[in-house]
Symmetry: C2
């Protein structure tokens, strides 16, 4: 049996791999070493690549990494960005290099991927229940004594499953009790229920209570004012639970971790968790936003504009992720069919947002007007509806490029094994990989 080097294969090894013809977005007919992507001289706007192609704008990524580092410093919070958004080891590396405390992940399989690429501290934001998943996580902890893993628990039954397996661990597995919201996802529905779980962890051999966790993102609704009140109340409940658990002496680690924070209301979480004191041991407030890294042109763009307003700091996170496709057919005056579909861009919250058109080789790109929208997607096609009488739209022809923003980065990343990082002129600089 082969074994992998401890601490993970170096990220750099990804650049040694051969990309094969058939990799979406690549204009290759022979295998190409990934590290050579940046010296091919490809430019997306010249249509040097294959289409569709997913691009990450490096300037926006750099801006967002710095923005979030500053945000956390200002609020006295730490960041464990949710890695499920991108599942991209190179981006994990950039997040950790920009001060992230660790990575958050959603499943045991995702933790295995992150560990393989050298991530050393993970918050697994779910209760471990499957026997295979419990086994694989305990195997990592046993095999790599410096790897730090935190997981969640929201039921006494869940604690018992884990405790049976963890009882032989040399170091206890640190758990955060998950506080939930009635009618929503996982998590305890009352502080009393959560205290019962905390006590079960305290009593369980092989486990230790490390903190309290919740996900306020489930409260996002169409009534922002109500959301803000509800999120503040939920965050206060997390703090109240932490105080009760501390008063009973249930915490078993050197610090108490308080964690919440999706990508919509992490400012409210930072304000609510950032200054908690008076517990028997130091408190760390840990945010878990995943989508801050790329933001988007849709749902998060709207939510983050409101966050900027609450923070009274305009000029916040920038959209970094676009999908470019080609006009494949121009069958009617107000209809263009694009060479991308459900396999290429998010469609779960909004359909992609057309931003600009480019005739390869011409100057450009040219902004598309608001009335120009994608009204439907099939697996491999998008229907771009064009307003009648608009000169740019009317001139759109077979072979022209259309750049789209997306709404909800998570469901675009999972459609691309390889994304191309581009500069502001859309020169291809390097490639990054996802592992879904």
């Amino acid at each position: 049996m082969l074994t992998l080097p401890k601490g993970g294969l170096a990220l750099a090894a990804l650049d040694e791999q051969l990309l094969l013809p058939g990799t979406k977005g690549l204009p290759i007919t022979e295998p190409l070493r990934q590290g050579a992507l940046g010296v091919q001289g490809w430019n997306v706007l010249r249509a040097d690549t294959s289409f569709p192609v997913a691009v990450l704008k490096t300037s926006a990524l750099q801006h967002n990494l710095a923005w979030m580092r500053d945000f956390c410093a200002r609020h006295g919070a730490l960041l464990a960005p949710h890695g499920k958004t991108t599942m991209c080891p190179q981006l994990f590396g950039a997040q950790l290099a920009n001060g992230a405390w660790g990575m958050t992940l959603a499943s045991a399989a995702q933790v295995q991927v992150a560990h393989r690429f050298g991530v050393r501290r993970v918050l697994l934001a779910n209760q471990l229940v499957a026997r295979a998943d419990i086994h694989s996580m305990l195997h990592l902890l046993h095999d790599d004594p410096d790897f730090e893993l935190y997981a969640l628990a929201d039921s006494v039954a869940g604690v018992e499953r884990l405790s049976q397996a963890a009882s032989g661990l040399a170091r206890p597995l640190p758990l955060l009790v998950e506080m939930g919201i009635p009618g929503k996802r996982a998590g305890c529905r009352s502080i009393d229920d959560a205290m019962a779980v905390a006590r079960a962890i305290f009593d369980a051999p092989g486990l230790a209570l490390a903190g309290i966790e919740g996900y306020e993102g489930l409260l996002v609704s169409h009534d922002r004012a109500a959301d803000v009140v509800a999120v503040a109340a939920f965050v206060a409940q997390l703090v109240a639970l932490a105080r009760r658990a501390d008063a009973e002496g249930l915490f078993g680690c050197a610090e108490v971790l308080l964690s919440a924070g999706g990508s919509a209301y992490f400012d409210l979480v930072a304000r609510g968790l950032g200054g908690v004191d008076g517990l028997s041991r130091p408190v760390k407030a840990i945010l878990r936003s995943g989508c801050y890294l790329t933001s988007d042109h849709g749902s998060y763009h709207r939510l983050l504009a409101e966050l900027d307003a609450r923070e009274q700091r305009p000029g916040g996170l920038r959209p970094a992720l676009e999908v470019w496709s080609m006009v494949q057919s121009r069958p009617e005056p107000t209809l263009a069919i694009l060479s991308m579909g459900k396999r290429d861009a998010s469609y779960d919250i909004d359909l992609p947002i057309p931003l600009a058109a480019q005739r390869p080789g011409a100057s450009g790109p040219v902004a598309l007007p608001d009335g120009c929208s994608i009204v439907k997607m099939n697996d491999q096609h998008a229907y771009l509806q064009l307003p009648a009488g608009h000169p740019v739209c009317g001139a759109l022809a077979v072979g022209d490029l259309v750049g789209c923003g997306i709404s909800h980065p998570c469901t675009t990343f999972d459609k691309w094994p390889l994304l191309l990082a581009v500069d502001d002129d859309y020169h291809v600089r390097y490639g990054v990989n996802t592992f879904f």
Copy 2:
């Protein structure tokens, strides 16, 4: 520069690859040779795998392969199944071994993947427009003189783009004119427009008119009776176009290909195209259904039941694809949170359909009642709503398994790099790979 062996890497090479920890569904902590999957003794219902896990039922696959072979023989049609559904070389191989004439694919990148795994005849069911994609396809034809590729054209502009690149080909590139439907996707909107495209192909050096193509699947609506009429009319239009092009002497290959047929109305297409004669050369009717191979428990299940009724042959295609996940949290009496989400199962037509529950190790599985349904999915979670007062649902506990059928196979396959093939008792027999 490395070169790949001509004719494709053997499919068997996939079984030589090492699967790494972190591959969704696999309960491994060390790399495992894919060919060894079947001797691990894993059973999904015993929760030996990781969850979620996507399974293919081998008995249903075998049934469906044979069913479609018989259907085509009965109707005098050939099959070029749409490979975009699965993008799975092992399943391509099974389809070709069961008499498929070739594979249909949606993009140049998909053609490259299929060619790499030994597919020798492809109908690329789109117009080639991107320079890189035209180049990669012409490179295949030049580099592999026995590889057969057909593509579509729906505009004179598209023909001109292709003709410039193809003029140096040793053998002409065979094209089918795509007939479309007003208000729908690509394709010519009238027979006159289509004739203009056919004449452009005839006139273009390096191109040859090989046939007529359309996609009647765009006509699926909520009014089945109207659909049946509209599909028959559309198919008749394809035939009329073929007769006109033939009368003008525009066809340039030994045979005339007539192709249509998604997975909803391929019986109507087979009846309309199956017996066409009286042209100047032999006619081949080519169906392109992709979803017949796995069918599903949702949208296609309903459509195919109607097809069975039209054919007056009950007992048709069987659902072969399921996603099993685990109850991760049981926070309220009528709510279970499952460990699968938008990353794991289709959500574009219907949410997954809960079929059965299984307590690992207990006898079972136990069917779930109709009132039990998935009402929402996040990226990594599903919300299973349980009817109050039902004994099976009430007993569902953290750690129990729930098996779900899906609706629309295409958008489940693209979420799984590896699917596990299981027998009727859910013993894992082998793995198959997808390349999206």
